[in-house]
Symmetry: C2
Subunit: 344 residues, 2 copies
DNA sequence: CCTTAACATGTAACCGGTACCATATTACCT
DNA sequence: AGGTAATATGGTACCGGTTACATGTTAAGG
């Protein structure tokens, strides 16, 4: 790699002058400026980001910690973060925590020693206590904000209400909920939304709530158990889209059809939902927007324009598709713009 | 951040001694060692990766450039890279090139100025010429190797043969191919595999080959055009899984069923294939293995154990599922282990 | 007991930039 | 012309580590 010294030599000036040219600060005579620029071109010189970082303690890098990159929710988020970061001159280091606290802590340590400027953390296991020693800007996803950290999330409770009410409107008379893990914040909120709608219905029964770990396989098992009870379930609100797809598969294996026998709605709005047959109704989170906002916020905090932590809540929207369309209007409305751009 | 100087002061030794303790090299008296370790603990000191990098010109970082992280193929790959990298003490910077040469070049420049130790590049647009000035280890995905760069890929040609023959075995009598972009290496190879099997069949016709851009929407359109020809297609080999899903949707919209009317097989083996109904037969690439091997290779090259470039080809395997099961044996075999672990 | 090698630790140059300070030159004003 | 301000450039300490070299101490061997 060619260094600033070689450029200085070639241009016949000092390193200080070269530095001034690069950063366009301080006084530099027009003719000198060009001489230096020319040398830079000639040698194909690029300043070492490492050396720069050592001085100003900024690396123009942000860390993104996700529980699982293979869950379709997160690539959409990661894409937003990467794009916004890039367009602001930052790069993104991606870490996969597998959802365990131990990995998260380790990765945060590592990111700190690499001097990232800030961290965006999507954590299931977050407890404020565990992150006390983190002393750089950190934005949380799907968590309530605390005095130290900003937070980006949606109104999961309201989403739960919306989903459940939608099933009622579609004529469902006994609605089950396939909830996410009991210790996960978003899962709790969605469950509460469901409960608030159904708890006073005469048909409501605790046996209508099942739990799974937000994953597909687990959801299939749990749904089969729900249906084996034979209590006349004709609608299922799944805690996320992946589990909703599990529901579809379980229902299919019972020889029942969706939405005729059982209507199904998911939560998240991942692009998978309009790839499958039948297309899946869902409560859509503005995933890209959330990633974008998280990145903007962390950059604000890094660059010091913003000191106090913010709590940003996005709206969820109901996307009705085939899987809950029991009213058989031909050509159901589809609020989702198809935004697939898989390339391979 | 606490520096080595503060540790030295606290332990009552010089920075050199602290450095020796950290790196466990050189002579350090047992008692001194412990004194220093204690000070490190006390101050919760971590060496600055930046400063270390400035010395040894190694950042323990590798860059991964992908055309599109929201395409399900790539998160699986990224996960492998991240895990293997991490377990070798490396971190991964992720870049989304959107498949354009311009972005790729820009991102490589950026990665170089950040002094990444190596790059793994999954590129559709790669032309050796464009990367002449890249002077750090780089491993290519889905490209033939060249003298400068190692390559990881599968035998796409053979996969095309396998898929096509499988459809024949299932009793298909007129097989179409929905190919990927004409200028993409993998797409060409898969098409050639298909052609080698069918070109001598009496029913073969150029009109059986359609092109789409490896994406879902485009595949739906293309499939509809194929079917509108009304030439009795009863089997489709799609160039990748995403397009196969597009086929499914298009076929469904014609009121036809899979596999009874038309059998469909994809290519890639993304986990999506066993989430949908009907489950999709596919030519599976060992995605995780490929990411793992790419990472191992780049690390070898970085650490200088390996200088010559290697061309590593993986085998593809046929996974038969419902979408091609025309022989109606109840309970088709499923070679794919379900490895979903979406968490959300 | 003296010599020599192994052990132990400190000093300082260096990695590649940035930025403060010093010095030199030019421009402008009275 | 003389003084001051603005312009132009160079020298160098510093960021936080690593490491070659110097120096001092201890152990071993004859």
């Amino acid at each position: 790699m060619v260094t600033i010294k070689e450029v200085a030599k070639k241009a016949g000036v000092s390193v200080a002058t070269v530095s001034r040219v690069i950063n366009k600060n301080g006084y530099v005579k027009e003719s000198t400026f060009e001489k230096v620029q020319h040398a830079i071109q000639e040698l194909n010189y690029r300043p070492s980001a490492i050396a720069v970082s050592l001085n100003n303690k900024k690396t123009k890098t942000i860390g993104l910690i996700l529980p699982d990159i293979t869950n379709p929710f997160f690539p959409e988020l990661a894409k937003a973060v990467e794009e916004v970061a890039n367009s602001n001159g930052y790069t993104m280091i991606l870490c996969n925590s597998s959802g365990t606290l131990k990995n998260e802590i380790e990765q945060i340590e590592m990111l700190q020693s690499k001097y990232v400027d800030g961290i965006i953390l999507a954590s299931d296991s977050y407890v404020e206590e565990d992150y006390k020693h983190v002393n750089l800007p950190m934005v949380l996803l799907d968590r309530g904000a605390n005095p130290r950290n900003s937070s980006i999330r949606v109104n999961n409770y309201y989403g739960g209400v919306l989903a459940t009410e939608h099933l009622l409107e579609q004529g469902c008379t006994k609605i089950a909920h396939l909830a996410g893990p009991k210790d996960v914040f978003t899962a709790q909120q969605r469950l509460e939304g469901y409960q608030s709608v159904v708890e006073d219905m005469e048909w409501f029964d605790k046996k209508l709530v099942a739990y799974a770990n937000y994953q597909l396989e687990d959801a299939i098992t749990a749904t089969k158990e729900l249906l084996n009870q034979n209590i006349g379930i004709d609608g299922i609100f799944a805690g996320n889209d992946l589990m909703a797809i599990g529901c579809l598969k379980a229902i299919h294996s019972f020889g029942l059809s969706v939405p005729e026998d059982i209507a199904v709605i998911g939560f998240d709005g991942i692009s998978l939902t309009n790839m499958i047959i039948p297309e899946l109704s869902t409560i859509k989170q503005p995933i890209y927007e959330m990633g974008k906002e998280a990145t903007n916020q962390i950059i604000k905090e890094i660059e010091g324009n913003e000191t106090e932590s913010r709590d940003i809540e996005f709206d969820v929207t109901l996307i009705q598709r085939e899987s809950t369309n029991r009213k058989r209007r031909p050509g159901c409305e589809d609020g989702a713009k198809s935004k697939d751009n898989g390339n391979r």
